[in-house]
Symmetry: C2
């Protein structure tokens, strides 16, 4: 009747547990960065972490379970500033500040987050971003109500978060070619004006004859 050993269920308070998991996580990260996820075995991880292999299985079901744990612990570490209680006052500069805070955190642990992305943590990062974006612009969606928008309103939040994380990961993978402050401005500008307008493509005909929004 015991459903299962339920590894990694309870919050880790025991010092031994914390130490072991941290050792496994760190070893895992360094190995993935060296060889890629596919080439890393449980044996490798436990050897580098100097943890007995049996102990690994007392904490994680398998390699992928450790991967999820690792990604989550890294994504959770990102600095998501609290949203102002009155989001209607959320202005351009606020968005830049929020973005800069996130970029700073990314830069601080650049190697780790590159590993997260290499681990396939993009979707998980997007998911967290989505909740954040939703919190910020939900009131705006309510205000819009049944108003006509050029594109369906349901698209806005998922696209906004996907595009945001795409920009972040591009910046990381390119080796952070611009300082966080500049990049933050670019990000918000791109999201506000669109990449084509930033090319001076303002003369394009409007989407007349557009489908029913």
């Amino acid at each position: 009747m015991t459903p299962r050993p339920e590894r990694r269920s309870e919050q880790a308070t025991d010092l031994r547990v914390i130490k072991t998991r941290k050792a496994l996580r760190d070893a895992f990260i360094s190995l993935v960065r060296e060889r890629g996820l596919a080439a890393v075995t449980v044996l490798d991880v436990t050897e580098r972490a100097m943890v007995n292999r049996a102990t690994f299985y007392r904490h994680f079901r398998d390699k992928y379970d450790l991967m999820r744990f690792t990604i989550d612990s890294l994504v959770a570490d990102l600095a998501w500033r609290p949203v102002p209680s009155d989001p209607s006052s959320f202005a351009f500069q606020d968005a830049v500040d929020h973005t800069e805070a996130i970029l700073n955190r990314l830069a601080q642990h650049a190697d780790l987050f590159q590993a997260v992305l290499a681990l396939g943590g993009g979707p998980r990062l997007t998911l967290k971003t989505q909740r954040f974006v939703e919190e910020i612009i939900r009131h705006r969606l309510d205000v819009l109500g049944d108003l006509e928008t050029p594109i369906p309103k349901e698209m806005i939040v998922p696209i906004l978060s996907r595009w945001s994380t795409a920009l972040w990961s591009w910046w990381l993978m390119e080796g952070m070619p611009y300082p966080p402050r500049d990049m933050a401005v670019y990000v918000v500008t791109l999201l506000r004006d669109g990449p084509l307008a930033c090319l001076g493509l303002t003369g394009w005909a409007a989407s007349e004859g557009a489908p029913p929004g």
Copy 2:
């Protein structure tokens, strides 16, 4: 000195070879869609493909080699319309048409491309898109020359292609909630105006005090 057996090097002309590879590819796709890449073994693939396991290794180095082969054969299948000889005439409606053609092709093989994305083929798809986008707007970048743009010009192409593929994959993963024609308009509109403008967020202060472009 023989560098390596070099599997899968020559073009497949022998009918037996073509048949075997197709069988392996199809079996691989169906299995990945069912269980995910990690849970698929070479043994599984060969059993479903009704191909001897030894034969598998005569064509592919391992599971990941087959994955690359599969992704490439699918991405290559996408309909990339030829770019007009005079790209300066490339207008809004042209972009919509191009996008619609791609979306139609995606829809036609929706299950396959969902598999591609599940296989981690996103980056490969982005790469191909990047070359396409570059071809279209390169002249525009030349025209711009040293002109000031709100964001660095080097960002435009990679971001444009990343955002495009992000939109496509979102559309696919959501089960294609809008017909290709409508979605194409949404895509180009989003890329032109930005998602925030589509929310009516036009009142945002311009990025004054922006960093040196």
